[in-house]
Each structure stands twice: as structure tokens, then as C-alpha cells.
């Protein structure tokens, strides 16, 4: 029995110790569970697969009957100087791939590229019901159309600017506030903290109207200011994450700095911040993604000013067009996703550690 198991995994290069470990864990459950996981994963990411496949398809393919799932183009065969479309023609000898010379209602003339000596063959049947012969052919056309329809570079610049500035503001303010909550004794601090946390429950709808009126009155609507300025005043989620983390930094470090004559601000900059890099990285990433994907606030405050739109608002107009230009809509979606996905792949460890740090401590 042992030898059978060892032969099964002989194909992969594993050290003796790993092999023993695998045997101990039992191969069968591992295979079953991994298989289940893979199936779940494929179903979960199915929409992404659809998006990528469709984005590369020529538009005509979508309306064709029985078109293949992957990007493809119908092939042609050059006969006597003309490009004739190839079809899958059912014959008494099986399905053949013939080039259509001329089609009539109840029959059609073909040539067999594999057998030119036969000349023109007449086939009885309705050629319009036949399926073309496809070859794999991804196209970048949708991307170029999408790119020219929507000023992507402008959208990217706008989005980047908004996300960057508001992340800077968030970092500065949230670190300050978290530091205040974590390290200073203030009367009523606990009550203040509870108030902070309960603002999470506050629906943005309850405040958006007066805020909109306020910003309209001072002339900030139609600019980026309503999106950027509030970020400099801290928010409950990030303050909470940072505060929890800062409370885990040993106070001896603060005290050592104070003995050396540092004031609290210097302590913050020179001692606390270097110690809090993991949490700070997490906040940076979270907020950057949040600002990058935000749709509601830009929609409300930037209404009408297309040159200021971030990506989320800029491509929203494509949502209705799926019916007419599905491939282009998918190409647009791909373009929108590239940057967040890349950023995520590079920063995933920090990102996920940060999510855990916020959530589990509740």
C-alpha cells in the first residue's frame, strides 16, 4: 500500500519530508477538498472569465449562433483570388470544412480545400444554417474603441489625484486622532470614543443634503474640494484600526523618548509612526482603494463637470450600453480593473493583515 501512494506522487518533486507530511495528512481528503475549492473558485470567478473572454471578442461573434466561447473569427479560404468563407458542412462522409463559392436557397456550391481536384461540389441543403469554421482570434479592437470613447488617461489622472490626496489627508488626521485616543488621558475619553464608533452607524444620506447645500453655498460644488477636504478630518474606521494598533506599542518607548526631552509631537513622528508601519500601510491601502472606487460622493458633488470625473463616474455611462456594445463594455471593465488588481497583488499581504487586524479585535 505504501509503495502505491509513493508512486502516485512520484511525478512531483517533493522532498522526503514533504512526502511524509503529505502521506500523514492523507492524499484523498487533500485531493477532494482542493477539488471542491477549485470548483468553487471557478464558479466564483466565472464573471471575470466572461469579462476577459468577451473583451477580446470581435463584436460580430456575440450575435452569431453557436459561436464558440473564446474569442474567434470565422476563417476564409483563398480560392482563385477570392476569400471564401469556410463552413462546417455535414456530408455523408462526416462533417467537412468547405469553402462556399455561391449559395442558393436549397443548395450551395462549395470547394473542398483538401481536395481541389474535385472542383466545385454542389451540396443540398440550406447553407445559412451551417456553422462557420472558427479559429482562435482575440482582438484588441474593443480596447481601442473603449479607449477612444472615454478619455481614460484623464479619468485615471483624476482618480489618482483624488485617491492620493484624500489618502494623505486621512493618514495625517487619523494617525493624530488615534494617537490622541491611545496615549493621552483626557476626561471623558471613553465616551468620546464611543461617539466616534457610533458614527459608523450614521447613514451618509442623513448628512448629505446639508453638506451639499453647504458646499454649494461656498462654491465648492463642481470642484474636488468636497471630496478632499473632509478626508483631513479623520474617520471612524481608520482611527479605530490605528488606535487598536497603537495601544499595542509598549509605552516604554514613549517614556524613553520623553526622558530624552521629546515633546509628544516628536515622539509621534520619531517613535510611534515607525513602530506602526503595518497598521499605517493597511490604512493607506484601504483608503486608497475606497477613494478609487467611490461613486456616490463624486456623483453628487461633481455633477456635470465631466473633466473632473473619476473613473467610477466616468464609465458609469457604459452601464446602459451593454445591450448594443457588449464587447466594448467588457473591455472598459477590464481597463478599469487593471490598476486596482495590480496594486492588490503587490500589496496583498499587508492588505489582508490589515483587514484581520480591524475585524478580529472586535
Amino acid at each position: 500500500m505504501a509503495t502505491t501512494k509513493q508512486t502516485q506522487i512520484a511525478g512531483t518533486t517533493k522532498s522526503r519530508f514533504q512526502v511524509r507530511g503529505m502521506l500523514k495528512r492523507d492524499i484523498v481528503p487533500t485531493i477532494l477538498v482542493t477539488l471542491l475549492g477549485t470548483v468553487l473558485m471557478l464558479v466564483f470567478l466565472l464573471p471575470l472569465g466572461y469579462m476577459i473572454a468577451t473583451a477580446f471578442k470581435p463584436e460580430a461573434q456575440l450575435s452569431a449562433q453557436n459561436a464558440p466561447l473564446l474569442p474567434a473569427k470565422s476563417t476564409t479560404y483563398n480560392y482563385q483570388g477570392q476569400d471564401l468563407p469556410l463552413y462546417n458542412v455535414p456530408t455523408s462522409e462526416g462533417v467537412k470544412q468547405w469553402a462556399l463559392v455561391k449559395g442558393f436557397r436549397e443548395d450551395a456550391d462549395f470547394v473542398d480545400p483538401a481536395n481541389l481536384g474535385k472542383g466545385v461540389i454542389n451540396w443540398k441543403g440550406r447553407y445559412r444554417t451551417l456553422d462557420p469554421v472558427y479559429e482562435f482570434s482575440p482582438t484588441l479592437d474593443n480596447f481601442t474603441t473603449a479607449w477612444s470613447d472615454v478619455d481614460f488617461p484623464l479619468l485615471f489622472r483624476n482618480t489618482f489625484f483624488i485617491a492620493f490626496i484624500s489618502t494623505v489627508g486621512t493618514l495625517i488626521s487619523c494617525i493624530m486622532v488615534a494617537y490622541g485616543f491611545a496615549r493621552f488621558r483626557i476626561p471623558g475619553k471613553n465616551i468620546l470614543f464611543i461617539i466616534l464608533i457610533s458614527t459608523v452607524v450614521l447613514p451618509p444620506q442623513a448628512t448629505i443634503i446639508p453638506l451639499y447645500i453647504l458646499f454649494a453655498k461656498i462654491g465648492w460644488t463642481g470642484t474636488w474640494l468636497p471630496l478632499l477636504v473632509p478626508a483631513f478630518f479623520a474617520n471612524a474606521y481608520d482611527v479605530f484600526l490605528l488606535r487598536q494598533y497603537l495601544m499595542g506599542i509598549p509605552k516604554e518607548l514613549d517614556e524613553a523618548a520623553m526622558v530624552d526631552g521629546a515633546n509628544p509631537l516628536t515622539t509621534l513622528i520619531r517613535v510611534i509612526i515607525p513602530q506602526a508601519i503595518p497598521a499605517i500601510t493597511a490604512v493607506t491601502l484601504f483608503h486608497f482603494f475606497y477613494a478609487w472606487n467611490d461613486y456616490f460622493a463624486p456623483l453628487v458633488y461633481l455633477a456635470g463637470k465631466e473633466e473632473l470625473f473619476p473613473i467610477s463616474v466616468g464609465i458609469a455611462k457604459f452601464v446602459g450600453t451593454y445591450g448594443t456594445h457588449p464587447t466594448r463594455a467588457m473591455a472598459t471593465a477590464v481597463l478599469t480593473m487593471i490598476l486596482p488588481a495590480l496594486l492588490f497583488f503587490f500589496a496583498q499581504r499587508q492588505f489582508m493583515q490589515g483587514v484581520v487586524a480591524t475585524g478580529v479585535d472586535k
Partner: protein, 315 residues
């Protein structure tokens, strides 16, 4: 290296204490200002607005604010769309919260399983859709749910099921949105994962010695030990799904197509405020939402606490 601990005086007493206090307030200042300017005062103003008939297209001047008493509140009872929008939001929530509880937990259990090969790859891939902008997600789901060329319906055909028209079908529009929402379970999955990993293995080992099988272990150990996290996720899930807006606006346009099946409460609110510019009534809607969320949160905190087992001693 031995350092004399700085004597901590009660806050505000003595020179050191007063200085610390001042510094502390300095650091908290951004939040104070922000809270007042962007949250407290606006809420008060919304409250005030709810008693007027201010129309946003008019100048922000006193003569345009007419006090109408409780008229706007009365409209809550006669508003035909209110019932529909509450129903829509409720239907969505009733599907979303259980799904948002079970699916990420399932994924977390899978990723945590010692029988899984390359768990980090799975973890990353399950999390990936959460960083995708909602708008792009809507685009993609419109595509994949397309009755003719979408893969979901094609997949269903393989099993012999005739797929519904999803986003164009009033009955299926909300479940379609729930499917889109499923893409965002990565966050919850990670939190569950962290919680699962923090359950001490000794407990499991002890239970095995007592003869517990897998299912018993799950029900009697795993679930209670992660119950605080389950509670957190459920609460947050209810709160966020009542605030559901963006995808609804994108799919349903301004009217909650098809036929009002996606007229979520917040879409209704958005229309009153920014399409019809009726700020008075919109304010009432906003406050009503706030009240509902507060009631639900309080309800959950009061009644669900009993089911939660807090394993750590400092709670």
C-alpha cells in the same frame, strides 16, 4: 535598560498633566472639527430641513424656507413609493444577510482546512473581487447575466435549466444584485479566517479525546468561539445593506427599473433629493432611515448578545 516610569498624574492636574491634556486635545482636534462640521451640524440641519419645504433649485436664503410643520412627515404615510422601496430593501437584506453570513464562512472554512493545497492562492483569489470598483462589477455582471450570451445562463442550460432574464426580470433583479454582492465577501471571509485561526487547538484536541466528531466539534466549539465575529458581520451586514445604493442606481437608473423592482430606499431618497430637489421630504426620508438603522442595531445588540460567547476574559 531600566527607565524610571514617568509618574502619571490624573489628567489635567499639575503642569505635566495640563500639558499632556493640551497635547491630547490638539491631537484629537481634527476629529472634533470634522465631527461637528461634517456630521453633527449636518444632522441637526437635516432635522431642521425636514420641517420646511426648501427646494434645492432655489437660492439658499431665508425666504425660501417655509415652515410647513409636520407635512413632510405626514407624507411618509401617503407616499406610494415608500412601501415599495422599503419592501425592495427588505427583500434584498433578507437574502443578503444570510448569504453574507454563510458564504464567507464557508470560504473561510475551506481556506482554513488543513486538507487544502495552496491555501494562500485561494485566499487571494477569493478576495480579489473586493478591490474591483463597483461600477466595473456592475458592467461585468450585466454581461455575465445576459440571457443570450452570458455564461451563467449558458451554464444553467448545461444542467437543463432555463435561466431567467435576471436584470430585466422584476422577480430576479434583486437576486441578481445579491449575486453581485456575493463578490464582495472577501472582507468577511478574512475576518472569519482570522477568527477561526484564533480558536485554541487545545479545545479541539480535548473534544476529540471526549469522542466528539467533526460536526459536533463545529457546532459546539467553532460556532460559539467565533460568535462575536459572526455578530459583528451580521450587524454590519444589516447596516450596509440598508444603505445599498450604487449598484441599484446603475442598474435601475433613476426609476428603479424594471418596474420599480430595484427602487431601493436610498434610490427613492436620492430621487427626492437630487432629481426632484424636494429637500424637505428627502430629509424626512433620511432621518427615517437613520431611525430604522438605529432601531435594528439596538435590537441586535440587545437580543442577540445572549447567543454570543465571549471567550476572552477582558470583555
Amino acid at each position: 535598560m531600566a527607565v524610571d516610569a514617568v509618574k502619571t498624574k490624573p489628567a489635567g492636574r499639575g503642569l505635566m498633566g495640563r500639558q499632556r491634556l493640551r497635547w491630547g486635545l490638539f491631537f484629537l482636534a481634527p476629529w472634533f472639527i470634522g465631527f461637528f462640521a461634517f456630521q453633527l451640524l449636518p444632522i441637526v440641519f437635516t432635522f431642521f430641513l425636514s420641517f420646511t419645504d426648501y427646494n434645492a433649485t432655489k437660492e439658499f436664503a431665508p425666504e425660501n424656507f417655509n415652515f410647513v410643520g409636520l407635512n413632510n412627515y405626514g407624507r411618509l404615510f401617503s407616499d406610494p413609493e415608500l412601501g415599495n422601496s422599503l419592501g425592495v430593501t427588505l427583500k434584498f437584506t433578507l437574502i443578503a444577510v444570510p448569504l453574507g453570513l454563510i458564504v464567507p464562512l464557508m470560504f473561510a472554512l475551506l481556506v482554513n482546512s488543513k486538507h487544502l493545497f495552496a491555501p494562500n492562492v485561494f485566499r487571494t483569489l477569493f478576495f480579489l473581487p473586493t478591490v474591483i470598483p463597483v461600477v466595473a462589477g456592475v458592467l461585468v455582471f450585466q454581461g455575465v447575466l445576459n440571457p443570450q450570451s452570458g455564461w451563467i445562463d449558458l451554464l444553467l442550460k448545461v444542467f437543463g435549466i432555463e435561466g431567467p432574464r435576471w436584470l430585466s426580470d422584476p422577480t430576479w433583479a434583486i437576486p441578481a444584485l445579491n449575486l453581485l454582492g456575493l463578490w464582495g465577501v472577501g472582507n468577511a471571509m478574512l475576518i472569519y479566517l482570522g477568527a477561526l485561526q484564533s480558536v485554541p487547538t487545545e479545545i479541539y484536541e480535548a473534544s476529540v479525546l471526549d469522542g466528539a466528531n467533526g460536526i459536533q466539534r463545529f457546532i459546539n466549539i467553532t460556532i460559539p468561539m467565533i460568535s462575536p465575529v459572526i455578530f459583528y458581520n451580521v450587524t454590519l451586514g444589516v447596516i450596509t445593506s440598508f444603505q445599498y445604493f450604487v449598484a441599484a442606481l446603475l442598474i435601475g437608473g433613476r426609476n428603479g427599473d424594471p418596474q420599480g423592482a430595484t427602487l431601493f430606499y436610498n434610490l427613492h431618497f436620492y430621487r427626492q433629493a437630487f432629481v426632484f430637489n424636494d429637500m424637505g421630504y428627502a430629509s424626512v426620508l433620511a432621518l427615517f432611515l437613520f431611525a430604522i438603522v438605529m432601531v435594528l442595531t439596538t435590537f441586535m445588540f440587545t437580543f442577540l448578545q445572549r447567543g454570543i460567547y465571549y471567550a476572552s476574559s477582558d470583555i
